[in-house]
């Protein structure tokens, strides 16, 4: 469990360039970005501004061209792939735009499977923990349902339960409301905020949905690969 006020994510001078020579494109430029435990940060910006690049670098899925990335004080910039996988497994929870549940697995199994690869979870313990998390998210009646039998709102709640079940310090959410209607989007964000705050998680939500502003402690604006800090009440970019 993350400690409030502790730096969980620290991007320092991060630049990401795709391609080379005359085809080189800078997705992020000299970006500095810190997120503390218990803090919910919304990263907003237009399409193609570099939001997904920022998220995947923060998620130890993509290496920056220059700069450094630290997760829970661990510099992951030069880590090899197996160690990066361990960081993602143990310390990061992902919530995706299109839910990304495994279609052949039930709700319980979708949550259980990520717990089972963590060393501290036996099969029985993982199943118990997954069941608890689904109950917390009001999905007791969906435990044995396959994703195709669930509504989009339910799928996203399963995805959030999966992200939180392994008790990561950092949660990275990519457009979590994009495929939900207004009511369900609000419910999902409220739930994410509530659980993240109860459990003192650091949360980064990447979105261009203005509705998420009310759930964030802090909003940053990303445009042309550069980050700008803004207060949630600042509506200049809306």
């Amino acid at each position: 469990m993350a400690e409030n006020g502790r730096v969980i994510l620290d991007l320092s001078g991060v630049t990401k360039i795709y391609g080379s020579g005359e085809f080189a494109v800078s997705a992020l430029k000299e970006t500095n970005f810190r997120v503390l435990g218990g803090e919910i940060v919304a990263v907003m910006g237009p399409s193609g501004s570099g939001k997904t690049t920022l998220l995947t670098i923060a998620g130890a899925l993509l290496r920056p061209t220059t700069g450094s990335v630290a997760i829970c004080g661990i510099d992951v910039t030069q880590m090899d792939e197996s160690k990066l996988a361990a960081i993602r497994r143990e310390r990061i929870g992902f919530v995706y735009q299109s839910f990304n549940l495994l279609e052949a697995l039930t709700a319980l199994e979708n949550v259980r499977i990520v717990l089972q690869v963590q060393r501290n979870h036996s099969k029985a313990h993982a199943a118990e923990r997954a069941r608890e998390m689904l109950e917390v998210f009001g999905l007791s009646h969906r435990i044995d349902s396959l994703p195709k039998k669930m509504s989009d709102g339910e799928k996203q709640r399963v995805a959030i339960a999966r992200a939180l079940a392994k008790d990561p310090e950092l949660i990275l959410a990519d457009e979590p409301t994009a495929n939900l209607d207004a009511k369900r989007g609000h419910e999902v964000m409220a739930l994410l905020r509530q659980k993240a705050m109860e459990l003192h998680k650091a949360v980064v939500v990447v979105s261009h949905d203005n509705r998420i502003r009310e759930f964030a402690h802090r909003i940053v604006w990303l445009e042309d690969g550069r980050l700008h800090d803004h207060h949630p009440e600042d509506h200049r970019f809306v």
């Binding site: 997904t52 899925l61 990304n100 495994l102 199994e109 259980r112 690869v117």
Partner: protein, 375 residues
Amino acid sequence: MLLVARKNLFSERTRLAISVGGVALSVFLIGILLSLFRGWSQQVGGFVENTPADLWVASDGTTDFLAASSALPGALGSNLKFVPEIDVVSPLIVRPMELHKSGNNPDDTFDIQLVGFDTLIGLGGPIHVKKGKELPGPGEIIIDNETSRRYGVHVGDRVVKGTKSLPVVGIATGGDFVYTQVAFVTLDTAVDFIDLEPTTLRTFFLLTLDDPEDAGNLAKRLGAATPGAKYVSPDDFANETRSRILGNILPILIVVLIVAFIVGLAVAGLTIYTATVEKSREYGILKAEGFTNPYLYRVVFEQSMITGILGFLLGAGLTILVAPFAQDSVPQFVVFVRWQDILGIAGITLLMALIAAYIPVRRIASIDPVTVFKG
């Protein structure tokens, strides 16, 4: 077994059925062809191996029992009787020929290997008489059970060659060479039936020895002492006979076996590959969630292995079930299913499953987890 492997595999029942069916077909083909080869091997060499002789004597250059191009002077048999180490000398007259059943169309012929033997000695005669007389009398013939079954020739019928005919007085077993069968007559009947000239000519001599263990040494000594004759053990002679018949079939059999292996490999490989491609995004999700490549490789290998095991069980089961009935429909379809061959096919299936997983595994290695954040 890993949860993802099991769930992915069994959630797509049609694909699984195709994949398992492909492997099963391959296993069935390999199993049947191997059993057929074993069956023929056993059948073709059986008569020579089961005749209780210690040495077969043939003229030099004779390759096997069926070609029977051997021609030995009858005096050789008389001389061999004086060799102290030899207990019994039994002459055989052997000749391949076509007969037809009396009363049937003369063009409706069947092949037999006529064997004239000394009924007083008995060596070289029927292995086991199933019906009728134990030994043929003058002008009588004992045919093989397979000849009787295939061509409807029974005790009491007559078999005809040209203007000559012989009554069938017995039915024996153990003389089936798949495409022909032995039929037994007395030496004199053989001489008359085939118009042998000179009448003293013999095809083979069968020898039993006081010390069968000494057969090898005696064969060398006799070979040196009687130029123009060769002395071979029943096992070697049976193997030469097998080689003659199966030697030509073996390369074809190997090609068909390779094709069957490729068919199984292609079906299993393609279905597992398409399943992997379809689940690429899910493998990407698992990578993003911190699952390592070796874990994901294991998922594919387990899917491939389960497909292989199910295919093997189905294919091997079919082989064991179908084999005994195959000969009823096609007489030449003589099969012998050996557990060693079934074990070997299990190994081949394992190899098939491993190779089938190779390309999907490479595909997984190339999946970039970043792609799961796109759409």
